[in-house]
Subunit: 228 residues, 2 copies
């Protein structure tokens, strides 16, 4: 184990497939005692994913912090028309890369998540923060692009006396490749949750459900998901 890994990593864990695999990979490299998983309750429609995050963290026996940011919805996010924050906006169906998926963007989500994870890393004197943005996200979400991640990595190097490293091991990978890696690492993919509708079952029709199905199929991995 490298000295960096021994100093610990904060993993952003949404409860989706990508962050589930990221936690599997990080625990594999760093040991569960040196890993903290961080999730944010920002008032998202699909809060079921927070339950999934809890189950995945429990599976790996890592500490799990859930940051309650629900109050942002009535102040910070005022005026926003994201389907994931505003119950009166319908969740778009179709392909993840479609323009309609713009409706699912939570404003500046990744910068908020990374800033909190970095604060947790600084507080614990950890060396790194990991997040699961992958190549397939880029078409729709500006804050999943490599250039965005690069600027945040610069800021995280400078925000404290000790630099915090931003790890983004999936930034050049497709979701199918992430899925394949998850299977290889025996990650509990069946515990992960992706659906934007937020129902007890995956709807199978929203952008993330469609993307999830495709990833399993393209990776040649058995899909454990129970779609409606």
């Amino acid at each position: 184990m490298t000295e960096q890994n021994m100093r610990g990593t904060v993993v952003l864990l949404s409860g989706g497939m990508d962050s589930c695999v990221l936690l599997a990979k990080t625990v594999n490299e760093c040991d569960a005692d040196n890993v903290v998983a961080l999730s944010v309750d920002y008032g998202q429609r699909h809060w079921v994913e927070l339950e999934a995050a809890r189950a995945i963290a429990l599976h790996y026996e890592v500490e799990h912090i859930v940051v309650p940011l629900g109050a942002l919805v009535t102040g910070v996010f005022t005026g926003n028309q994201s389907s994931q924050l505003n119950p009166s906006v319908e969740v778009p169906h179709g392909h993840y890369a479609d323009d309609t998926m713009r409706a699912t963007v939570v404003p500046n989500r990744n910068m908020i998540l990374l800033s909190l994870a970095t604060a947790a890393a600084v507080s614990r004197r950890y060396a790194a923060v990991a997040y699961a943005a992958h190549a397939g996200d880029h078409a729709v979400y500006p804050d999943c692009r490599r250039v965005f991640a690069d600027s945040m990595a610069d800021a995280m190097q400078l925000c404290d006396y000790d630099a915090i490293q931003l790890r983004r091991p999936f930034i050049g990978m497709s979701k199918a490749e992430v899925c394949r890696l998850g299977a290889d690492l025996a990650a509990p993919l069946g515990l992960s949750y992706s659906c934007y509708e937020g129902g007890p079952q995956h709807c199978g029709k929203c952008g993330t459900c469609v993307e999830r199905k495709e990833a399993f199929a393209d990776a040649g991995v058995d899909d454990p998901t129970d779609y409606a």
Copy 2:
């Protein structure tokens, strides 16, 4: 007024002298209707400054968002030894630039504040976020350095479909120069609050009180503060 200013600015308002002057400057340039002030309750010891922020926002009749992040203290900031978060750690007295002032650092504070302000700007389709870091802060606070602000500015350009501009007009100014500008703009400096102790009166002995006194003296501006 430029088109950018007409599209609106979110001002980070701690309630201290610097952000008070920043709000004065921004309202002067953008008109109060195009300005939102944002403060964060992150469980800081000196919550009196939030009352000061409210009074300053009211003075300028701008919308004021207070983001309740007190819950961070028991999760995200676990293990942190900042005197501003942990009541068992004593507030250091002496000069603001002393090494002892490291005890007052809130981990990754400015990245968190900027990420929330940026989310508010994106939600409202505003053009800019302004924060009041000045040259005198740099000695102690890594996240007040120009290089840190530059990386955050890059990330804010990339975090959404429309770029958000980071304004940091005081980054090359001393606190005395900021104070002088405040007096020129008739900013309500007497409403601002700086003391790290968080008492009803400024203690006059902690790092920020010492710095505040010096700034008024160096700027040749009458100090309206009632020190204990």
